[in-house]
């Protein structure tokens, strides 16, 4: 068996757009095979995962609710990945955003604090996520420690911190010993859009898409990111400070993950619990690559991947398929997207010319 790769000098733009879609289909067929091996009907799974949610107005709202944190986190990650930096700890930054923002909700609980509370919580959420994201960035810039390992280790630390708080000092004294905080006051709750379940977070996600499109396409900073990621040597000769870029992208992606965390807690859950995410921070990595690190692509990808969370929940109830199937699918999807990317990309050629480094 021998696979030989020839770099394409001129990959077609159409192939670039179609690659993620093809990857999605391949992953879907493979996941169907897994369902079949588990002794369930793949067609029934397709019905539950895709057709059901898409034909139900309630589920469509739910889809937006699930896609909101995914889009926010993935947009932030796209800054890092574009600069060829690997923040894989967004899950921890999400949790820390929720913790710092949630602190204000608990501190003002039962007081007559005005409607300034939830906007201030959002700011604290961004701050918490950004500071937590800066930790691996600073260790990388200052000591040359792998940002991959540090950001990942910090996920466990963040989850344990939240766990400690809601079981210890922040536990609702009237909560029958359940590990959860008090329910947030209305002033600490994100307003809903209209009568449904969609909250203001969806607006933030759309704004973040537009802002990212502007930053990446129209600013010097966006240009710097692209150069740093694609040609680090050229970036150094160009006088771009790679340390400053590292700190900036980690602060941005941490901040957006923190925003996603506090938005989820104050708009959706309404209190702090030991678990506040079904793995949004990790799934967002898949979303970012499925969206080709492009803001509008990420928006579309967050809806597509959001579907797998809703489908996963109904499949658990209707088909008795464990939620792990969703996780497995998301991993498979990421692998397929990267393979499809490799098949259309230029980057092979660039690395080969550069030699060993």
């Amino acid at each position: 068996m021998r696979l030989e790769l020839t770099p394409r000098l001129d990959p077609s733009p159409l192939a670039r757009v179609l690659a993620p879609i093809a990857a999605f289909m391949v992953a879907f067929v493979l996941a169907g095979g897994v369902v079949w091996l588990l002794g369930r009907s793949p067609l029934a799974a397709l019905q539950v995962y895709v057709i059901g949610p898409l034909s139900d107005p309630w589920a469509l709202q739910e889809l937006v609710v699930k896609a909101t944190p995914l889009a926010l986190i993935a947009l932030g990650l796209s800054y890092c990945f574009r600069a060829n930096l690997w923040n894989i700890g967004a899950e921890g930054q999400y949790v820390m955003g929720a913790v710092l923002g949630g602190w204000l909700a608990l501190a003002t609980h039962g007081t007559d604090a005005g409607p300034w509370v939830w906007p201030a919580m959002l700011l604290l959420g961004v701050l918490g996520g950004a500071l937590y994201g800066l930790l691996p960035a600073m260790l990388r810039v200052r000591f040359g420690v792998s940002e991959i390992l540090v950001s990942l280790m910090l996920v466990y630390v963040a989850q344990l911190t939240l766990d400690y708080l809601v079981r210890g000092p922040w536990r609702d004294p009237k909560g029958f010993n359940f590990p959860q905080s008090v329910t947030f006051d209305p002033a600490a709750t994100l307003p809903l859009l209209g009568a449904g379940r969609i909250h203001l977070g969806a607006v933030f996600a759309v704004l973040a898409v537009l802002a990212t499109a502007f930053v990446l396409g129209r600013t010097l900073f966006g240009y710097r990111l692209r150069v740093t990621g694609e040609a680090p040597r050229a970036a150094r000769f160009g006088g771009f400070d790679s340390g400053a870029t590292t700190l900036a992208v980690f602060a941005i992606s941490g901040g957006l993950a923190g925003l996603a965390g506090i938005v989820e807690v104050s708009g959706q859950i309404g209190q702090l619990q030991p678990t506040i995410s079904p793995g949004y921070g990790f799934t967002a990595i898949t979303v970012a690559f499925l969206g080709r690190l492009h803001p509008f692509g990420i928006l579309a990808a967050s809806l597509a991947v959001g579907l797998t969370f809703i489908g996963g929940e109904s499949a658990q109830i209707l088909l008795k398929l464990p939620l792990d199937l969703t996780t497995a699918f998301q991993g498979l999807l990421l692998l397929c997207v990267l393979c499809a990317d490799a098949l259309v990309s230029y980057r092979l050629r660039l690395v080969r010319r550069g030699g060993g480094s």
Binding site: L3, V145, L338
Partner: protein
């Protein structure tokens, strides 16, 4: 057996899976491939190995299936990063996410099942020696295997011709290719070895360490093994020391939790992860940046025609 001896014994059992997984990843990274999928391969080894051991009521079959599962996962990774030159960091993450999910699916019917303990080595006379007897001569076979593995990997990398080839490929794949060395084939074998080791480490967790399966039972050990390789500066002997340091930290943390010393359990549970970060920082303070990393680590290779 004194309490102190018991603690030493548990340190050995906590360190062994870290050592085995780190040894596999070390060889893969020395060949120039960064596989971040260790956690996923370990989870698959643990789930498949446990499922097979319960189904066939055989520890041996369980071990074999666990090793195969890890190897198969590594094969999938090799297909992406060697066959298609896909991004290694991203593909490794994908492998971890996929492995954690799939292991949950495979292990689901076996939640709640238990396996009997595997009988440790017993040499009449030696094992009964006071003090060092159990520690030196009363461990399970995996422990001795992991130590032999470390020696074998060290000899292979440092003293054999194939090891030299592997290291040359990891340092500079373009030059190695120009010399006619088989870059992709060597990397494939190194990756499969890494997968087999991760699978074995996973089996050890579910069949010996806990003797049951629960979703997410690897609890970041795959990531700690990855950190160990950096910590060890890609040298087998240092990885051995590192694995036992981390194993000790884990066990002391567990005893501190059981001993009610007044610190929150979560703080102690976070200790191994914080210790990993601190170790990486201290190490870089000690010897400058990333010394010892293979030159071509993490870079895709497409052969020149």
């Amino acid at each position: 057996m004194t309490a102190f001896e018991a603690i030493l014994l548990t340190i050995v059992t906590a360190s062994t899976p870290l050592l085995i997984a780190a040894m596999g990843e070390l060889v893969a990274e020395r060949s120039g491939v960064l596989n971040l999928g260790v956690e996923g391969m370990m989870a698959m080894g643990a789930a498949c190995g446990f499922a097979a051991a319960v189904t066939f009521d055989s520890t041996i079959i369980g071990i074999a299936v666990g090793v195969l599962a890890g190897t198969a996962m590594a094969g999938l990774f090799a297909l992406a990063v060697l066959g298609l030159a896909a991004n290694q960091v991203g593909s490794g993450l994908a492998l971890t996410i996929f492995g954690l999910g799939l292991s949950g699916l495979i292990g689901a019917p076996f939640v709640g099942a238990r396996r009997d303990p595997v009988s440790p080595l017993a040499i009449p006379g030696l094992t009964d020696l006071p003090g060092v007897g159990r520690l030196m001569f009363g461990q399970d076979a995996f422990v001795y295997f992991s130590l032999a593995l470390t020696v074998a990997v060290a000899l292979f990398l440092g003293r054999s011709r194939s090891g030299l080839t592997l290291r040359a490929i990891g340092e500079n794949h373009a030059s190695a290719h120009a010399l006619g060395l088989p870059v992709l084939r060597t990397r494939l074998l190194a990756l499969l070895f890494g997968g087999a080791c991760a699978g074995l480490a996973g089996v050890y967790l579910s069949l010996i360490y806990t003797r049951f399966w629960s979703p997410g039972m690897t609890a970041g050990r795959g990531w700690i093994a990855l950190a160990l390789v950096v910590f060890a500066a890609w040298r087998p002997a240092y990885a051995l020391i590192g694995a036992y340091l981390f194993g000790t930290a884990t066990v002391l943390q567990l005893h501190a939790q059981a001993g009610q010393i007044g610190l929150p359990a979560q703080l102690l549970s976070a200790a191994p992860y914080v210790a990993t970060i601190l170790a990486l920082v201290l190490l870089s303070l000690g010897r400058g940046r990333a010394i010892g990393a293979p030159g071509s680590l993490g870079q895709p290779f497409v052969p020149e025609r």
